[in-house]
Symmetry: none
Subunit: 130 residues, 4 copies
């Protein structure tokens, strides 16, 4: 359950948690029918407020990614993996679209956009260390 919280990010913590769980499911790191950690357990691990984990889990339930098993906890639902893959794809498509749109609106020259993409890609086959 490798979840990395960035408290400095503008993305809310509950969102980081739920998103990383979904993307872990998409990647197959958590399997269908597998249980996810309890609220108390995960909040302890990540050193964040239990309410925050609870909110992330509520989100996952509302989206049908996990289902409650009474008295046991939450398990990854049938079909969750495919849906998580689709969402992951959509998230990053939107992210790149925002980048391009914003760059165009800022009158950044196409050549400069190309230069950015070239430069960053050449440096990042694994995450940067900034």
């Amino acid at each position: 359950m490798l979840i990395a919280i960035d408290t400095g990010s503008t993305q809310p913590i509950f969102d980081q948690v739920s998103q990383q769980i979904k993307f872990a499911i998409a990647a197959g790191a958590i399997r269908v029918n597998e249980m996810i950690p309890s609220v108390r357990e995960l909040s302890r691990q990540l050193a964040i407020n239990p309410n925050t984990v609870a909110r992330a889990y509520r989100l996952l339930q509302d989206e049908g990614v996990v289902v409650s098993r009474r008295g046991m906890g939450l398990a990854v639902s049938e079909g969750a993996r495919e849906r998580c893959r689709i969402e992951r794809r959509a998230v990053f498509e939107q992210m790149f679209r925002d980048f391009l749109d914003h760059a165009f609106r800022s009158r950044l020259a196409p050549e400069e956009i190309d230069a950015i993409i070239q430069k960053v890609r050449s440096r990042v086959s694994r995450p940067s260390e900034d």
Copy 2:
């Protein structure tokens, strides 16, 4: 002075205003030593509160992009264009780096990343209508 406010964005209005002014300077749409619109004028144009514009302008002053000419208004400072260009470049480099890093950490396959870039780029020579 083409500034477009997106009230739905998570980016605060004052931030949109100051950023768009900086990028307009970067693009040469506002020249060094030129005055920027008065707080009251711009707030009227954009139909937002003068305090919000004032806050954007305060940001610009703190960053040294504009200087106050007392009783007269705010003028684009010497060397502002180059600094704005550099900042614009840095902003978009960071944006694309975030995209890539985040995608890698989400274990998105390199081929899928390529597919996203191809697909979106082919579609966006002008801003999307989302």
Copy 3:
């Protein structure tokens, strides 16, 4: 948390607040990692508008003296004390340099400058009552 507001001063209230907090950190009266009073709390204590305190706190954040812990409040950042000491030192060095420079430019005789320093120092081991 002894903060004294001088409403008659030309120095803005938000500036007095942020500076006094920085100097309190420099003096060790507020410790690293300690939370500073909430916006509402301090505004109540000082009988000033919450927005004014918020602006002071925004300044402190921009300077990296405090960091926001979301939903919890603001905490003094690592290394803040040393930076606050340095700033305090710089502020007063500049203040005295301004005094001297201005005096010289006004062609005040060195003996008269000495006389002023002697006279005032002998009188002030505690703050004056002006």
Copy 4:
């Protein structure tokens, strides 16, 4: 008539002008009964708004430092020099008192205050070049 305007200073321009004239009189650089430049002349020299010079001159008249000679302009009044010396003295005494009071209230150690005074004095026999 050596007047140096600092547009970046917090001290209003009209105040800089009137104060520097008074201090020039205190220093004997402008003599009793001598005429000071016309509003138009000085505003041209300093490249500032004539209204600003006019306001400075009004101040000087109100304080009795200069008197109007109909159709001719403004002349330094009898006894102006002594009064200007006294004011100059008071201004710098207050300036140094502010420095000390503020430093005490900021809990700056007396040794550090001494250190500042030593350091700056050793460097400044003529104005600094900051």
